[in-house]
């Protein structure tokens, strides 16, 4: 069964600092990878996704993520965070070929950006 690990449960940083959130997955086959964000009191929103091609993907709001197949990783980055980036971030993996193509989520990382 596939699993997704997010190493940091909580991250606190100041505005303009750089952010990197780790995500590792366990599945040997072809995967699609996603990062979702959940702002306080709001629903899950897609930040970015990787299906194939360039392993460096750019998403909304200045976020990017890099797929490193050899490390089974899909880390999320943002060079300079803003207070409005305070949210919980979820990495998710969709292993192709499984019935229903469900997403498996990591445990989430709560990010607090101090003004």
């Amino acid at each position: 069964a596939q699993s997704v690990s997010q190493h940091n449960h909580h991250v606190i940083l100041s505005e303009a600092a750089s952010l990197e959130l780790g995500c590792n997955y366990s599945y040997g086959g072809t995967v699609n990878l996603f990062w979702y964000v959940q702002y306080p009191g709001q629903h899950l929103q897609l930040l970015l996704k990787y299906f194939s091609g360039d392993p460096l993907v750019k998403g909304i709001k200045g976020f990017e993520a890099e797929f490193i197949k050899s490390k089974f990783s899909f880390n999320l980055r943002k060079p300079s965070v803003q207070w409005s980036d305070t949210a919980e971030y979820f990495c998710a993996v969709n292993s192709l070929g499984t019935a229903g193509n469900k997403l498996t989520f990591g445990g989430g990382t709560r990010v607090l950006v101090k003004p």
Partner: protein, 115 residues
């Protein structure tokens, strides 16, 4: 941009009562999902639904849960006899089909409180 819509946004119910959570998936989507997120925990897969039948379900999705697509537009989750531990945010999601349609779109969630 098309959206997955869910009702109600918040429901409080007494233990043992039946609850129906409603979802309107994106109109041309063919795969439908329910996930839940207990406060402070990760997003968990409950069930996937395709071609008018369940294609996969998790161990959480026991006999007290059922799903239905009664009229070709709504997709409902019924919890027959709610328990305190059913208190969670329930997310509906939908997906088109085919490789390029592998993004799963989430609704805003229905917050269920069982008292």
């Amino acid at each position: 941009e098309p959206e997955v819509t869910q009702t109600p946004s918040h429901q409080v119910t007494q233990m043992g009562q039946e609850v129906i959570l409603r979802c309107v998936p994106i109109s041309n989507h063919l795969y439908f999902y329910w996930y839940r997120q207990i406060l402070g925990q990760k997003v968990e897969f409950l069930v996937s639904f395709y071609n008018n039948e369940i294609s996969e379900k998790s161990e959480i999705f026991d006999d007290q849960f059922s799903v239905e697509r009664p009229d070709g537009s709504n997709f409902t989750l019924k919890i027959r006899s709610t328990k305190l531990e059913d208190s969670a945010m329930y997310f509906c999601a939908s997906r088109w089909t085919g490789v390029s349609g592998n993004t799963i779109y989430f609704g805003e969630g229905s917050w269920l409180t069982v008292v």
